[in-house]
Amino acid sequence: MEMLKGNVAIAEAAIRVGLEAYFGYPITPQTELLEHLSRRMVELDRPFVQAESEVAAINMVYGAACAGVRVMTSSSSPGISLMQEGLSYIAGSDIPCVLVDIMRGGPGLGNILPSQGDYFQITRSAGHGDYRPIVLAPASVQEAIDFTVLAFDLAEKYRHLVIVAADGQIGQMMEPAELPAMRPLRTARPDWALTGKAGREKNVITSIYLKGEEMEAYNQRVQARIATIRTAEQRWVETDTEDADLLVIGFGTAGRVAYSAVEEARAKGLNVGLLRPQSLFPFPTERIAELAQQVSGILVVEMNAGQMLEDVRLAVGTSAPVDFYGRMGGMVPMPDEILTAIEDVYPVAIR
């Protein structure tokens, strides 16, 4: 075990599992990630470029991803806004790519405090067009490491964009955690990669389909892939749900703080359970729908105005009433606030 800051842990985990190139731009609260890589990548003689902007960074990632290497970038909310164009092109080119978003308060310049306000921005499509990236939401430094490793595996398995979405608190927090062992870099590049056409026909990577029929056929292929992802890659953890009358749902730091609140509620004799989605897309819709049949009420807790709330409502339908407790602007909910929210809605839940 090592004491690691979330940002550094993500960076080092990426290196250990074979990150071959990094392109990024400084932005708080993500900067330690870039700083760590600026030293380690150079030590390991792997490409590192501090780009002139997030716009350039994501397009450098696009270029390196076309060459078939493990590549990533990282940023925070305003920087992710700037990357939307490149993300859409990457998605439209069917190439694997990993993005880390250490979310901060918004909209606008906002602030640098922890937030989950990017939920819509990153789970809906991340840029223009018609697709959904895979989005993983860690709630601890260990999960930040594990999901970074998983992100590369999923990106390559599906040739799909994977976003690791952590709020600023996960990025800034230190916790003991276990890093993966150092792996050797891959030597071979995938057969679709741009490497020069020696010994084969030329490879072309584009996201352009001028004819509507061709574009739609492409869209259908992507949607089929996304349907597979929906069934195969839902991830969540549950606590005390077996006999729960009230189900609390929260991700990332909000979900983790909610765990403490649920423990306290249990100590007070309330039958409360917790479901913490680890994948925001695909969202654990079926499991939540199932639990909605069992419980009498659901409380969603987020560090935003209620974004995942919409996915929960879609899953629950009319099976159970859904309440919401949120903090915004970079404010992190405290366990006692969530406990109060639980106690407020609990009478309804046991009715």
Partner: protein
């Protein structure tokens, strides 16, 4: 058991490192631990604080509204955390910079002239470790020598020459708050 602590002071007083050092010592002792900084503009000379949670089971919330223990390095931190420490909790006050009376009841208070003691050891920059030594003498969350071991293991390489001074500062802080002879400090 679960201990929730907040360290607070001016940026530059070593508040963040104090929390990290305790976290390292807790990890090396085998506990679960989280360390969360306040980050941002206050890093540039304003007040800064960090929250440390130490537990013998996995930690849920790493954020704490009312800590069991607050270590206040300066007056703004005293003003902020004196009312927040939980009843029966502990307030460790750097009396070199804070001479305000504590108005609350049911609160343990340890006043220690940590900055002056640090200056006597060699530099006011050791204020943080003096306070840590005193804290652990007052509340044996961890053995004081776990802190010394953590210093040895985690002091930045370019500050390694300051290790003896740091250890001495821990000893003096612990001695001020309790009888360090009985704590097994070498």
């Amino acid at each position: 058991m679960q201990h929730e602590l907040i360290f607070s002071g001016f940026g530059g007083q070593g508040v963040m490192f104090a929390g990290q050092l305790l976290a390292y010592a807790a990890m090396d002792t085998g506990y679960h631990v989280t360390w969360i900084p306040s980050y941002g503009p206050e890093m540039r000379g304003g007040t800064a604080h960090c929250t440390v949670v130490i537990s013998d089971k996995p930690i849920g919330s790493p954020v704490v509204r009312r800590p069991q223990i607050a270590i206040v390095f300066n007056k703004p931190s005293f003003d902020k955390y004196e009312p927040l420490v939980r009843p029966g909790g502990l307030l460790v006050i750097n009396s070199s910079l804070v001479d305000d009376p504590v108005t609350r009841e049911r609160l343990d208070v340890l006043r220690i002239p940590a900055t002056q003691m640090a200056e006597q050891v060699g530099t006011p920059r050791l204020t943080n470790v003096v306070l840590l030594g005193a804290l652990l003498a007052e509340r044996p969350i961890l053995p004081v020598n776990a802190l010394c071991d953590a210093l040895d293991a985690h002091i930045p390489a370019h500050r390694r020459n300051l290790l003896p001074q740091n250890i001495e500062a821990v000893r003096r802080g612990a001695a001020y708050a309790g009888d360090f002879e009985t704590m097994g400090i070498p």
